[in-house]
Amino acid sequence: MKKIEFSNVSLTYDDDGTVYNALNQMNFSVEQGEFVSIIGSSGCGKSSTLSILAGLREPTEGQYLIDGKVSHGTGRNRGVVFQHYSLFPWMRADENIAFGIKQAFPETTDKEAADIAKEYLEKVGLAGFGKKYPYQLSGGMQQRTAIARTLAMQPEILLLDEPFGAIDARNRILLQDLLLEVLGKEKEKKTIVFVTHDVDEAILLSDRILFMDKKRILEEFEVPFSRPRKREEIFQSRDYINLRQSLLSCFFSGIQEKIGGEEVVL
């Protein structure tokens, strides 16, 4: 049994009459404990896919299954990290995490929640930053906190929508490494769907890469590296250069096609 299954999912946005079809008969599945990246150009429907998985939108057509059961609405079994607004600006870093814990496990006492929050802050390398408000943290630190909060809520499935999209190149490297490290330490392997624009990031992190275009999954790539992974080794391997080239050509083909045709969507 797959952990996640998308079966013929379509999504139509209806903005006061103007109807836009964002996903069209989409199918894919994710195994228990698998790390899957979705990559694709802007507007192809990645966030829409993730918002369905998160339970924020219901598919207009088709359905999606979690643990083999048709799923509706948000649920404690899923945790989400977005590019922005993942933290509540009015709570300090530790309060954000403790608040998440109290929501997921209402029976937790404030003291326990605070202790767990501290522990998770340490895990993401932010020991000592608990009393800072989000605005006092850099973008990278905010996303670390968001990851800590989501992990502290102990979901089985982790959904990440370009979590490092707004982080500069150097800190991005640190965060990728951190994510790999923290996930490696979790007792049970999480099932992960990770949306990104960055080809290197997708290769480094995931077991499988789904290339999305035309409102559905167009191609799949297995990532042939074993874990734990070392960045420098991967980036110098032949497999990496080939995989990267294939992924980039997916991108380019899309561009060529669009520039060739009349449709200019930038």
Binding site: Y85, F88, W90, M91, F99, G100, Y133, M153
Partner: protein, 310 residues
């Protein structure tokens, strides 16, 4: 080296700010000279006026590093000079409509018990009316703002109700509400409720969908959504509009304290306005100005304490 350069820069540009800091003190001296020049209104004792000037000069000397205060005092001293000159040195001025500063400040000394009493009782009415308006306005505003349907139907109605002046509904308030005091409170309440309600509703309805989505994915309960997301989201905006609400509340204080009150700042001002006793009216207005400033300062401090997340 960098620090040295900075130092030099500071030394170099020192001259003009230094002159600035002196301006209010020079004006203070001019004002004193003017006061002790014989003029039209020498019968009134100048003690209270001099005391007020002394206090403000002392405040300025204590906070002499504050550029804002220096500027404010410069403006105030200029106003005082114009006022003193216009009312005691210029000819043919209508002293009833334009009493001299000495006269106006003398009221502080003669009527201080009435004024203190007025502050106390006005603060009570304002406190209760304001608190009610704030709590209800925010609660209902958040509710209205977060449900598109309520917003679309209730806000247009609220916008129609809000401009009804208190003079129109006081008889109804007296008729329906059990005591005069409650009627007074109601007048204050309704002068600010609508504004807080409308503003909160608009502010909530402007919340970023992404923030809401983020909250939803955490499976928040309805109360958690209300108290931990929507309410703190609105708080900075509410704090920012509080001074306007304070201004409005004081604006209707004269109307509110016409209902059976025997003291209060609005009562004081209105009472003497009815008798066309402008000396007292102006002194009352100055007191209101001071109280409003103190409240605004309190609000700013509260905002700093409560809204610490940006």
């Amino acid at each position: 080296m960098t620090t040295a350069a900075l130092e030099e820069k500071k030394r170099f540009s020192f001259s003009w700010p230094a002159v600035q800091w002196f301006i209010p003190h020079v004006l203070f001296a001019v004002l004193l000279a003017l006061i002790f020049t014989p003029g039209a209104d020498d019968s009134t004792p100048h003690g209270a006026f001099l005391a007020v000037l002394g206090i403000s000069e002392a405040a300025l000397l204590i906070n002499r590093k504050s550029r804002a205060l220096t500027d404010i005092m410069t403006i105030l001293y200029l106003l005082f000079i114009a006022w003193e000159f216009g009312t005691t040195k210029a000819d043919s001025v209508n002293l009833l409509l334009y009493p001299s500063p000495a006269k106006v400040f003398a009221i502080f000394a003669s009527d201080w018990h009435k004024i203190l009493d007025g502050i106390r009782s006005s603060m009570y009415l304002l406190g209760v009316g304001f608190t009610l308006a704030l709590v209800l306005g925010v609660l209902l505003g958040i509710l209205t703002g977060s449900v598109a349907r309520l917003r679309d139907s209730l806000l247009p109605l609220a916008k129609v109700i809000s401009p009804i002046p208190p003079i129109i509904y006081t008889p109804y308030a007296v008729a329906v509400l059990p005591t005069f005091e409650i009627a007074s409170i109601f007048v204050i309440f309704s002068s600010i409720f609508w504004q807080i309600y409308i503003q909160t509703a608009l502010s909530v309805s402007g919340i970023d969908k992404k923030l809401l989505d983020s909250a939803k994915t955490m499976n928040l309960s309805a109360p958690a959504m209300f108290f931990h997301v929507l309410w703190p989201y609105c708080l900075p905006n509410i704090m920012k509009t509080l001074p306007i609400s304070v201004a409005n509340a004081f604006m209707v204080l004269t109307a509110a304290e016409m209902i059976g009150a025997t003291s209060g700042l609005g009562y004081f001002v209105r009472y003497y306005a009815d008798f066309a006793d402008y000396t007292r009216v102006i002194s009352g207005i100055i007191i209101i100005g001071i109280v409003v400033s103190v409240l605004n300062y309190g609000i700013a401090e509260l905002e700093r304490k409560v809204v610490r997340w940006h």
